[in-house]
């Protein structure tokens, strides 16, 4: 099988980890790649730790087992660090993107990282300022693309715009807010 990229999203119930994986999956599809997007289902409660996943490949993907060793981890809520083993299965050349207002260096020791690359972005502040609520999932898509280069950013923005326009036809402010959030996170994400 051709090169397969796997992503794990960590969030809390209500933060949109599932929607992020699905929206990102659609953006991947929009760029002519093959993908899967699926959440981990369990008892669903607001605030409980949840995960969702993407698989991305240039070739059709037939794998249907769980994602256990993703190359990329996206953390929507920094309070999960220390509670959930967010680096589980992450290889030494993996990438972590965290939504936080703290500097990246703070997490290296805490997460016992080796060679993994660490990126941070204050997606909660961005989403509050652009969307009006702390829903960090869409800005984290922007940060993810910048940190990994896995998709063409302009194409992703155009694709997501189309999807949001379909979903929120009656709420243009939601569309604009989300697109701004993605753009800002893309511009503001920092490496160590």
């Amino acid at each position: 099988m051709a090169k397969l990229t796997e992503i794990r999203w960590h969030g809390r119930g209500g933060q949109g980890a599932k929607t992020a994986a699905l929206l990102f999956g659609e953006a991947v599809l929009g760029q002519g790649k093959h993908m899967q997007a699926f959440p981990e289902y369990g008892p669903e409660r607001m605030g409980a730790p949840v995960q969702s996943f993407n698989r991305i490949s240039d070739e059709p993907i037939t794998l249907h087992c769980h994602v256990t060793s993703p190359q990329i981890v996206v953390v929507l809520d920094p309070t999960l660090i220390g509670t959930v083993d967010i680096t589980h299965g992450l290889p030494d050349d993996g990438i972590i993107v965290i939504n936080t207002d703290q500097p990246a260096s703070k997490f290296r020791e805490q997460l016992h990282l080796n060679g993994q690359k660490l990126y941070t972005v204050d997606a909660s502040t961005i989403s509050r300022e652009t969307i009006g609520r702390d829903i960090p999932n869409t800005p984290m898509m922007g940060a993810l693309v910048k940190a990994t280069g896995i998709l063409n950013f302009e194409e992703m923005i155009a694709d997501t715009k189309g999807k949001l326009e379909k979903k929120f036809r009656s709420k243009p402010e939601v569309i604009e807010g989300n697109l701004k959030a993605i753009q800002r996170a893309y511009d503001e994400v920092k490496s160590e």
């Binding site: 699905l22 093959h34 993908m35 997007a37 959440p39 289902y41 037939t62 249907h64």
Partner: protein, 378 residues
């Protein structure tokens, strides 16, 4: 279902429900389909209403999963016994107890002797293609049986993956308008449906019910050939993966087949002659064809995503082993029960099965255990 535009859909999805009927109900509400949606009070009633509608001459569909299918139980036999070609997407999920919402095949396996045609799907594309084909197979004049299209709960039902869809007009042309052979509403040709039938004729009618099951596989192949001409995708009663020269093989249903393909590709790179038979038509079961395909192998493992609780392994194993009995040349078989209640089946699990098969093939000895449990803590 939207493209099929059935005349009647009845729905009451109980926990664990899927979004199928909910989304379909929105199509009805938005006027995107002409379907009469009957909201009922239980899945037993959903199947009852589907039966009533089908007996009245309507193209009738519903969808279910797990406990919902279990609650339909009584009516499933009636749908088949009355020869009503109802088509039903069926999301495979575990049965209680304990309570679980995840994938295994216990639900549909329990209905395997009900007279319903069962078509299994590996991925979302196959679900779509199989449902379209199921309409043609079920409604074929020589068949006239209900059909369920099964696919794995959560792994396929709640995951997003790309599907090539076809133009609605093309799909409707493929399935054609529904012309019921008999209809309660055709008052010029009155019929009786569901009459009492004791020692005098019950047996003859049940014997007659067996007749179409002898033709389903042929019809499924004809429909698949038409489907390939129209839509360009090839289907058979099973899919053979690298079976041409395979010495060790697994037999599997559903999404696990996709994961197994990755394992087989890896083994093939190392020169291991590994293959797979993915069963698409489970009811009726292609006994002869399976035996023919497997007779050239040395060792075969059947992977069952449900337990037969029969003292001799899972239901697919029973069928495959029975199919092989009359072969002059037959492989050694082993059975693995896996993935109950959504337990993950990993590449390593499947690889370990092939390792076992290679050892069996090399020694020529029967496995230590006829059936074992893969990925369980015991």
């Amino acid at each position: 279902m939207k493209q099929i535009n059935p005349d009647v859909c009845a729905a009451y999805p109980i926990t664990p429900a899927t979004e199928i009927m909910q989304i379909f109900a929105s199509y009805v509400a938005d006027g995107l389909v002409d379907t009469e949606l009957v909201a009922v009070e239980s899945e037993h009633s959903a199947m009852s209403a589907s039966i009533g509608a089908a007996a009245a001459g309507a193209r009738s569909m519903t969808a279910t999963s797990s406990q919902g299918l279990a609650l339909m139980w009584e009516m499933l036999y009636i749908a088949a016994g009355l020869r009503l070609p109802i088509v039903m997407p069926m999301v495979n999920r575990a049965l209680s107890a304990p309570i679980n919402i995840h994938c295994d095949h216990s639900d549909s396996m329990g209905t395997r002797d009900s007279g319903w045609i069962q078509i299994n799907s590996e991925n979302a594309q196959e679900v779509y293609d199989n449902i379209i084909q199921a309409v043609r197979i079920a409604e074929h004049p020589d068949i006239q049986l209900p059909a369920m299209v099964t696919y794995d709960g959560f792994i396929i039902s709640h995951a997003m993956e790309p599907v090539d869809t076809y133009e609605t007009e093309q799909v409707r042309k493929f399935i054609g308008p529904y012309k019921p052979m008999y209809s309660l509403l055709d008052i010029d040709h009155p019929i009786t449906v569901g009459a009492i039938d004791l020692t005098d004729y019950y047996f003859e009618h049940r014997r007659a019910l067996a007749e179409p099951t002898f033709h389903v596989l042929d019809v499924a192949e004809q429909v698949a050939a038409d489907f390939e001409r129209e839509f360009g995708r090839k289907y058979g009663i099973f899919e053979l993966y690298k079976m041409d020269d395979a010495e060790v093989a697994i037999v599997v249903l559903g999404s696990t087949a996709g994961t197994a393909k990755v394992v087989i590709d890896g083994l093939r790179q190392n020169g291991v002659k590994a293959g797979m038979v993915k069963v698409r038509m489970f009811r009726p079961f292609p006994y002869k064809q399976i035996a023919e395909v497997l007779s050239s192998t040395k060792a075969v493992a059947v992977l069952d995503r449900s337990d037969g609780l029969a003292g001799m392994g899972g239901p697919v194993f029973g069928e495959v082993r029975s199919a092989l009995y009359d072969s002059a040349k037959r492989p050694i078989t082993a059975n693995y029960i896996y993935g109950l209640g959504g337990r993950d089946i990993t590449l390593a699990h499947i690889k370990s099965v092939y390792d076992d098969l290679l050892a069996i093939a090399k020694s020529g000895k029967l496995p230590e255990k006829l059936f074992s449990y893969l990925g369980v803590r015991e």
